[in-house]
């Protein structure tokens, strides 16, 4: 695969003028995303095999892998990461699947949709902190029932979060991945004949859930497969959530690698690079396992439809799925509310349900310093999202996203390859080339991560738009460009703005690339939040987690308000 991506950027140009014009956007995208990732991977592979001249690494060696193998309890770290990837993805997908099966097309569906959508704007770390403030032994849940029901005057000595099996970590990931999978499912739904299938399966006597699974799900799953794999990759290599909620002794693999990267003994960089390759292998293994699970799932599904069992009454199953969806959304919102209270809390001893006093000091102290970071976050996120949107439109307009396997795999590489595995290599590369940390450089790196999400978000509505409008316009003598600007884009305004908001949120939430490529000089609200959360001060964490949520939320707000203003007098364009 790597070889193919290296060759491809050149090919369209070599094919002559007519082709090169058609492929221009996809060519740019191929180079823009493919090259940095390959270079970054090379920057990881080199040190893993002993090549890093500055640290005296001048010859090939396998010593660092041998050293990696001797790291205490490495296997446990690997297993935890692996299990997290599979279980998180499996459970999130199962709930989303059952909920969609039971409710797609109903009023409850759109109600939950409105509840869940804003969750996408909440950064993982903020959601994780909120969860800690809820479920920890000194958290809000325990305070609610103490000392009245439990008799505890001081918090019980329970191992939550950071439980050895990583259950709290998985829960924290699931409440964030479910909204993501749900929204991509939503985007794919218009492309399947939901209503007809529902009527057909109902007339055959199938229950709603079973009928949906048999008739619609296989079509739908094909559409959302890529995001599902992105979830597998993310859950297998997540760092921030694992640090907040995950087990500590031993920690999941990605956390340990980050620790080695940060070790003051610079020779640990070799070990960390070897670890990053192990992480790559781990993520690949998790994906292969998922492929196998897909096969199992499809066999089960086939057996289910072959059996002819109708299961007409599936209310219990449906309602549990709905309850889990609503509960997870409620947990995240409640966690955010707790964050808000902590951010203005004076002394708040256990088991008091509310703080003894309130103070604005944490906000007053943070805001003057946060101003720069907020400005930078907004300008970085809006410009990268805007450029990504233009590129995505160009790509979709030229049909470049379908131009072969290579394009697809390269475009979505940043979603599938764990950041940990190539961002450090990329940093060494950019310094070697003499790039100083600058806004344009960081913008470029952000684009690598933002573009796939924007394309992902825009491509479904793009294809769902009724082509007959364009055919009609072409028949009236409009040029392709006129059709794009006057017909397609106005009709897709809402989808474009949503894609912009998604890109905005992705950029605002990027931590590792911003920190390393920005060389710490370019600070965003996310790098500030992570630096402050290292201090563990709940009030400061509260302030920054809320800021971190509000900034991308602003993007989504604009995305939903602008169409209302634009289309005030066009009823069919409103929701």
């Amino acid at each position: 695969m790597e070889r193919r991506t290296e060759d491809n950027p050149g090919r369209p140009l070599a094919n002559g003028k007519t082709v090169s014009c058609r492929f221009s956007v996809s060519g740019v995208v191929l180079v823009m995303i493919g090259l940095p990732i390959l270079a970054g991977l090379a920057g990881t592979v080199g040190p893993a095999f002993g090549l890093l001249p500055a640290l005296g690494g001048n010859h090939l060696t396998l010593d660092h892998f041998a050293e990696l193998a001797t790291q205490p309890h490495l296997l446990r770290s690997v297993l935890i990461s692996f299990a997290t990837a599979i279980i998180t993805t499996g459970l999130s997908l199962a709930v989303v699947m059952l909920f969609t099966a039971g409710y797609a097309g109903t009023r409850m569906f759109s109600r939950i949709q409105h509840l869940v959508s804003p969750l996408l704007a909440i950064p993982h770390a903020a959601a994780a902190f909120g969860l800690v403030f809820l479920v920890a032994p000194s958290g809000l849940a325990m305070r609610l029932v103490s000392p009245g029901l439990t008799g505890y005057d001081s918090p019980p000595d329970w191992l939550v979060p950071q439980d050895p099996l990583g259950l709290t970590m998985m829960a924290g990931l699931i409440v964030k991945e479910m909204p993501f999978l749900f929204l991509v499912t939503l985007a794919a739904l218009p492309q399947v004949p939901l209503l007809q299938a529902r009527h057909l399966s109902a007339s055959l006597g199938y229950g709603r859930t079973r009928g949906f699974l048999i008739s619609v799900w296989p079509l739908l799953y094909r559409q959302i497969r890529l995001p599902v794999f992105a979830v597998v990759a993310y859950a297998s290599s997540v760092v921030d959530v694992a640090m907040i909620l995950g087990p500590a002794l031993p920690a999941p693999l990605a956390v340990r690698i980050t620790g080695w990267m940060a070790d003051s003994d610079l020779r640990m960089r070799f070990l960390a690079s070897a670890g990053a390759l192990l992480q790559l292998g781990l993520t690949t293994a998790a994906m292969v396992t998922w492929l196998a699970l897909e096969q199992v799932g499809s066999v089960l599904l086939r057996r289910m439809s072959g059996s002819g069992v109708r299961k007409a009454d599936d209310r219990l199953l449906r309602r549990s799925a709905c309850a889990v969806m609503a509960l997870s959304a409620a947990l995240v919102f409640l966690g955010l509310a707790t964050l808000l209270v902590w951010s203005v809390a004076g002394l708040w001893p256990f088991p008091a349900l509310l703080p003894d006093s309130f103070t604005l000091q944490p906000w007053l102290r943070a805001l003057p310093q946060a101003g720069v970071a907020i400005t930078m976050t907004i300008s970085l996120a809006s410009s990268s999202a805007a450029i990504a949107l233009l590129l995505a439109i160009g790509l979709l307009w030229q049909g470049g996203h379908r131009s072969g396997q290579a394009m697809g795999s390269v475009l979505y590489l940043p979603l599938i390859v764990p950041q940990l595995c190539f961002v450090f290599g990329l940093q060494i590369l950019s310094v070697t080339l003499g790039f100083a940390a600058s806004f344009p450089l960081l913008l470029f790196v952000h684009l690598i991560f933002v573009l796939p999400y924007v394309v992902l978000s825009l491509s479904q509505p793009w294809q769902a738009l009724d082509r007959r409008y364009e055919t009609l316009a072409a028949g009236l003598g409009k040029s392709p460009l006129q059709i794009l600007l006057q017909i397609r884009l106005p009709m897709l305004t809402r989808a474009c703005l949503t894609a912009f908001a998604v890109g905005f949120a992705v950029s605002a939430g990027l931590y590792l690339p911003t920190l390393l490529i920005g060389a710490g000089r370019i600070v965003t609200i996310t790098t500030e939040a992570v630096a402050l959360s290292s201090g563990g001060d709940r009030r400061a964490i509260g302030v920054y987690a809320l800021l971190q949520t509000l900034v991308p939320f602003g993007g989504f707000l604009i995305a939903s308000l602008v169409p209302h203003l634009l289309f005030r007098d066009r009823r069919a364009m409103r929701i």
Partner: protein, 412 residues
């Protein structure tokens, strides 16, 4: 090419400093010629790489930056790190790439193993500049030998002292009686036996957590002189045996039975406030008072130390060899050392970090300002802080941390 020229310059600088000043402007920033430094610094921007995990420290740095801006025309930008090593890595990455000038780090808040690593790899601005700063004369080198020796490594003027640190324990008077407080590591074990689940320490390699291990080792090791030298591989296991025997006994008595540890000092502070821990500790004697002032701790929290001594050290600021704004960094380092900046830093309402200056060397007015500071109810006065134990050689920290992970890394 550039590199060898630099080396040549360095050699020349060592041999004939006078000739060098005649030679050139760029590489020749010299703290001894303060007027030139001030002139050169005007208009520079100093990227101060400092741990950013504490809102009050960040606010203090912002204040220092504002003062330096108005007085000397030097702009200060704090690069907030979650781990100082990131700055060391940046400088190293730049050296890797041959970027020997205009580096992105101008000043680093540093000590201990990070300093040792940078000094060993020649990543610091040399020759020594700290002792040439105008305010150097005020530094308390007699009573605070750690201003010259950083974890047994001679500073050689490659870093300038910023603040003093001493390991101090905190407890809540409302929950724990004064007579129950431990007075040594051994006592602490008895305390944990009497109150299981009420004590813990941050998980190494957190700085404070590793410091706790060093405190115990310093008390229990048979031959204390060994700690001042690098680890002896042959006797290492025997040397640290008492420490790990102690920890084997202690861990089942810890918070969460030693299956999870607090992340760092602020995390312990929160757990003291939540009532999860009874005894916590920090490297800043004023932390408890600062916590009370900020409403993070109840006002019944008090401090204590071990009468036979606790670890003490100094934290510094250093300048990388390829810093872009060396003159500006010197100006900021000198200002951070001024009585004005040091007295503000020691105020628990601001930060509460003890000064590195000798009060006896200060002008009358400055001494009065220090005397007028209200250190807060929970802060022990300097004469009640007990003896300071010297920090072991950085080697020990690295080795103990590795050993710790090996033994307790899968406590679950």
């Amino acid at each position: 090419m550039i590199r060898s020229t630099r080396r040549m310059f360095t050699r020349m600088a060592l041999l004939a400093p006078l000739a060098l000043t005649a030679l050139g402007p760029a590489g020749a920033t010299d703290a001894a010629k303060w007027d030139q430094v001030l002139a050169e610094a005007r208009g520079e921007t100093v990227y101060f790489n400092a741990w950013g995990g504490s809102a009050n420290i960040n606010a203090y740095i912002q204040w220092a930056g504002d003062v330096v801006k108005t007085r000397y025309g030097v702009t200060v930008v704090q690069v907030k790190l979650d781990d100082t090593t990131k700055a060391v890595t940046t400088v190293l990455a730049e050296k890797t790439a041959g970027k020997n000038e205009h580096g992105s780090v101008d000043l680093i808040w540093i000590n201990g193993e990070n300093f040792a690593a940078m000094k060993r790899q020649d990543l610091l601005f040399s020759p020594g500049w700290a002792t040439k700063l105008p305010n150097w004369g005020l530094v308390d080198i007699d009573n605070q030998p750690t201003t010259l020796t950083d974890f047994t490594i001679p500073t050689d003027g490659l870093e300038s002292p910023w603040g003093a640190a001493k390991l101090v324990f905190f407890y809540d008077e409302a929950r724990t009686a004064r007579k129950d407080l431990p007075d040594s590591a051994r006592d602490l074990l008895s305390f944990a036996q009497a109150h299981p689940g009420r004590f813990s320490y941050p998980q190494p390699p957190d700085f404070i957590g590793s410091s706790f291990l060093k405190q115990v080792l310093s008390e229990l090791i048979a031959d204390k002189a060994k700690l001042q030298k690098p680890v002896d591989d042959v006797t290492f296991d025997a040397d640290v045996a008492p420490l790990f025997a102690y920890l084997d006994q202690l861990h089942p008595l810890l918070w969460r039975k030693g299956k999870a540890f607090p992340k760092n000092y602020p995390d312990m502070k929160q757990k003291l406030a939540d009532g999860e821990l009874d005894i916590i500790f920090a490297f800043n004697p004023a932390e408890a008072s600062a916590g009370i002032a900020a409403g993070e701790l109840p006002d019944s929290v008090r401090s204590f130390v071990f009468s036979k001594g606790t670890l003490g050290n100094t934290h510094f600021v250093g300048i990388p060899y390829n810093a872009n704004a060396k003159a500006g960094a010197l100006v900021l380092a000198n200002f951070l050392l001024s009585p004005e900046a040091q007295v503000r830093k020691q105020d628990p309402k601001v930060w509460g970090d003890p000064t590195v200056l000798a009060l006896g060397k200060l002008p009358e007015a400055d001494r009065a300002a220090f005397a007028a500071l209200d250190l807060g109810v929970a802060t022990l006065p300097p004469d009640k802080l007990g003896p300071a134990l010297a920090e072991p050689h950085p080697d020990w920290m690295t080795r103990i941390e590795a050993e710790w992970i090996k033994r307790y890394g899968a406590a679950n």
